[in-house]
């Protein structure tokens, strides 16, 4: 049954009934008025007007002063507002770690970026437009031999704004050619932004795209679009459905809390079902709609899921994973061998969280396997423990994989972004599967095709004693693929485990709070220092830290320490990371992709992933080096690793020749 919500007038002509004249045009009342004493009725109608007005005021006031969980934090930080000119006052820890905190003391000299430093920052093999701002990945899909990638793009500046859909195609998810913009803000229902959306393949192989438009009144609505010509493998042109918007915010949902529709999946009743993130007060929720034609929808009374105190859920993603097979599944797959993932991007913290659970198709609901780490709770699982947001998966029917895209924003100042003329990257696409060994987390890994960029390789095997640093000579060190295996010597392990008095560090340790890679423990930290200057004045260590945990077990942490990655004082330099499951008999493994200002680290085959943005000022070009280090106090590490030089992906601007060249690969 068509939702009456679709008839709600959200056009430019809408009037708020409460603000218009409170009197009603009721012909009977008019004639009655002429018969009754004028005075009394006037008094009554003024009284009603007065009341209606007062109610409207109260309603508006309540709407504007929604209770703010951050009150306490802001007040306490407010009193701590120092006049230190080098510290941004009032920025509470509660708010996003990944936003600005100015480093250094009050006398820090302003950092001046020159063109040489800035142009080095551009990546060689990560997806980015030729210039300007990019954010969320949109509608990724594979069609007629091409991988398509769409993205939020500002054609006019290196900061967010004027958002339209950029477009690019590739045969292998690595070598891209940019195409003309797919959709621009040319309708009233997306005048303030052509925002994020997802693609669905219909049974006949055709494609529908659902996306969020920010209307001319900044109301968030969902719109339908489809390729103008399905015979064009490049899908250059898109048509917006004449009946847009197909969905508007339902009752109880605010006009700015309704965005990022997912790919649809088939229900057992044969309908298509989608979910859209939102919130009610501070509870993050995911609304569910059924449709047969993508034009009219039926909103379910139930939510897919909700979690209190998580704030707005953006970019919700919902998909099945196999419990037993290491392969991707089409979004509509269901069955006893399948679990379902609910993922959401938390607007408040800019962190993507996911949880594994069970989907109930009969009423469109989902329950997590472990409610203590439900979606959006600060301790719940993340795809990535670094800079990684607004991510989206798609089913690659070409190779039977589920692939994850993630927006990697900048960690430098907007001034530098404007100076260098661009902002943001996409991570290297990753395959996503359930970890069949632990059953409790996903495993991600850069797509196989990235290996096609590997040029020369060097293999190393070495034993590294406690407190050592070894320069690994690989020539140029700004474009690397490193795969490494580590073993801690048995004696050190036995010593720590056998010593009952050795402190149980693991319960207190966290990458973020334990001081970074210079703080030495018995069994770590050890790993690689990338984008390192030979003087080590700038370096970015990626490492394992092994600590004694409860019950004489070891706990392993995987971290990236960007705190000394750059002299500059106007870049964000956190220590990122998390614990990583290590099963009995497994060696410690890590993979690192280094590509100028981005470092992507994968621990234990992708159980824990960390993306970092770094902006060295000296460890650039020929001065960027690679080191292996072992800062442990006791342990000797055996490291066995390969380092490959990585070629550029030569991402081309749009031309017919570029398309032809790629088609031949």
């Amino acid at each position: 049954m068509a939702s009456s919500d679709a008839l709600l007038p959200i056009s430019a002509r809408e009037e708020d009934p409460l603000l218009s004249d409170g009197s009603r045009s009721d012909p009977n009342a008019e004639t009655h008025r002429r018969r009754r004493p004028v005075k009394g009725l006037l008094a009554v109608s003024f009284g009603l007007l007065f009341i209606a007005f007062y109610v409207a005021l109260i309603a508006t006031r309540d709407g504007s002063t929604r209770s703010n969980v951050d009150d306490a934090e802001i007040k306490s930080d407010g009193t701590a507002t120092a006049t230190s000119r080098a510290r941004l006052a009032g920025v509470s820890e509660k708010s996003n770690d990944q936003l600005w905190k100015l480093s250094g003391d009050r006398n820090t000299v302003a950092f001046s970026w020159n063109n040489s430093m800035l142009s080095w920052q551009r990546t060689a093999f990560h997806f980015q437009p030729e210039q300007n701002w990019m954010n969320d990945p949109n509608g990724p899909l594979f069609y007629k031999g091409w991988y398509h990638f769409f993205y939020q793009y500002n054609p006019n500046a290196a900061v967010w704004g004027d958002i339209v859909w950029g477009h690019a195609v590739s045969k292998d998810l690595i070598h891209w050619v940019h195409l003309p913009l797919a959709m621009v803000a040319d309708q009233w229902y997306d005048a303030n932004g052509v925002w994020t959306g997802s693609a669905t393949f219909l049974e006949d192989g055709s494609i529908v795209m659902l996306y969020t438009g920010s209307t001319d009144k900044s109301v968030q609505v969902q719109n339908l679009a489809y390729p103008e010509d399905l015979n064009d493998p490049l899908l250059l042109k898109w048509v917006k459905y004449s009946g847009n918007p197909v969905l508007v915010p339902p009752p109880g949902i605010l006009p700015k809390d309704f965005r990022d529709p997912t790919t649809a999946w088939k229900t057992s009743a044969g309908k298509w079902r989608i979910t859209i993130g939102s919130k009610i007060n501070r509870t993050g929720i995911s609304l569910v709609y059924d449709t047969t034609d993508f034009k009219t929808y039926e909103k379910l009374d139930t939510l897919l899921h909700k979690v209190p105190n998580t704030g707005m859920w953006e970019c919700v993603d919902f998909y099945p994973v196999s419990k037993t097979l290491v392969k991707g599944l089409d979004t509509s797959v269901n069955g006893p061998d399948v679990k379902h993932i609910v993922k959401a991007s938390m607007d408040d913290t800019r962190i993507d969280h996911y949880a594994i659970g069970t989907y109930f198709d009969s009423n469109g609901t989902w329950i997590p396997d472990d409610p203590t780490i439900d979606v959006g709770i600060s301790t719940s699982l993340r795809y990535d423990y670094g800079k990684f947001y607004a991510s989206k998966t798609f089913y690659d029917q070409n190779k039977g994989r589920r692939i994850l895209w993630g927006w990697i924003g900048e960690s430098d100042s907007e001034s530098a972004d404007v100076q260098k003329g661009w902002s943001s990257l996409q991570g290297i696409p990753r395959t996503v599967v359930l970890d069949t060994k632990t059953g409790k987390n996903l495993v991600q890994w850069p797509v196989e095709e990235v290996k096609s960029l590997r040029l020369s390789s060097k293999k190393f095997d070495m034993e590294v004693g406690p407190g050592s640093l070894v320069h690994i000579d690989v020539g140029s060190a700004a474009q690397l693929d490193i795969e490494a295996e580590f073993e801690i010597n048995k004696e050190s392990l036995d010593k720590i485990l056998g010593d009952a008095s050795a402190t149980v560090e693991a319960e207190e340790f966290s990458c973020q709070k334990s001081g970074g890679s210079t703080v030495r423990g018995a069994l770590g930290p050890f790993g690689f220092s990338v984008l390192a200057h030979e003087s080590l004045s700038e370096q970015t260590p990626v490492y394992f830290y092994v600590a004694k945990g409860k019950d004489s077990k070891l706990k392993t942490f995987f971290c990236t320490d960007s705190s000394r990655s750059s002299f500059a004082n106007d870049v964000v330099k956190p220590v990122y990371g998390s614990s990583v499951p290590v099963l009995k008999g497994e060696k410690l493994t890590m993979r690192i992709l280094v590509d100028h200002s981005i470092v992507e680290a994968f621990g234990q085959g992708g159980r824990t992933c960390i993306t970092s943005r770094v902006y060295p000022t000296k460890a650039i070009y020929g001065a960027a080096k690679l080191f292996l280090f072992n800062n442990a106090i006791d342990a000797t590490i055996t490291a066995s690793f390969n380092v490959w030089q990585m070629n550029s992906a030569f991402i081309h601007p749009y031309s017919e020749e570029a398309v032809r060249a790629l088609s031949r690969t």
């Binding site: 951050d70 600005w100 000299v109 967010w160």
Partner: protein, 167 residues
């Protein structure tokens, strides 16, 4: 008829009075949730639009203040080139930083406040950083822009708090 006229006037006066005080309360309530209540009040009350604005409107008023202060500071920088030519390098840096505030940060904040506030938050936070960086470039005690940059940092703090209410 006289009775009616009096009633009309009285009712409308009451409506106006309630309206003003109820609306005025939005400013008060909002400012209480920022790190600098006094500054917030003085900034908002100095703008007539605040009496009928919602939180988005209040945010936009403050972004306007950021823009105005940024523009004024660029003017001060231009004057300082002549009065303190030995600080040219530092002034160049500030020029760049303040241009970013006035052109990039303000522009993004205005668009984003209306529809996608998290981008407005990062723009406002960045504006405060750009101001701090500019100020930090001067040798101790030699900055001609100290008052303006300190004010900018404070305004950005307050604005950020308001933008976070929209998330």
């Amino acid at each position: 008829m006289k009775m009616i006229k009096i009633m009309i006037i009285v009712t409308m006066a009451m409506m106006m009075g309630t309206a003003k005080s109820a609306m005025g309360n939005i400013v008060d309530q909002t400012c209480k949730q920022t790190p600098d209540y006094t500054l917030c009040l003085s900034l908002l009350n100095s703008d007539p639009r605040s009496s009928s604005a919602d939180v988005v409107g209040l945010g936009l008023i403050l972004v306007d203040k950021i823009k105005a202060l940024g523009t004024e500071t660029i003017g001060q920088i231009n004057v300082a080139y002549k009065t303190k030519p030995m600080l040219k390098r530092e002034l160049d840096e500030c020029n760049l930083r303040y241009k970013t505030i006035v052109e990039a940060d303000v522009h993004t904040a205005i668009i984003a406040i209306k529809g996608n506030p998290k981008f407005a938050e990062s723009a406002v936070v960045d504006a405060g950083i750009e101001a701090s960086i500019c100020q930090g470039g001067f040798p101790e005690g030699q900055s001609p822009l100290t008052d303006s940059t300190q004010k900018m940092v404070k305004i950005c703090d307050v604005t950020r708090a308001i933008v976070r209410m929209l998330l």
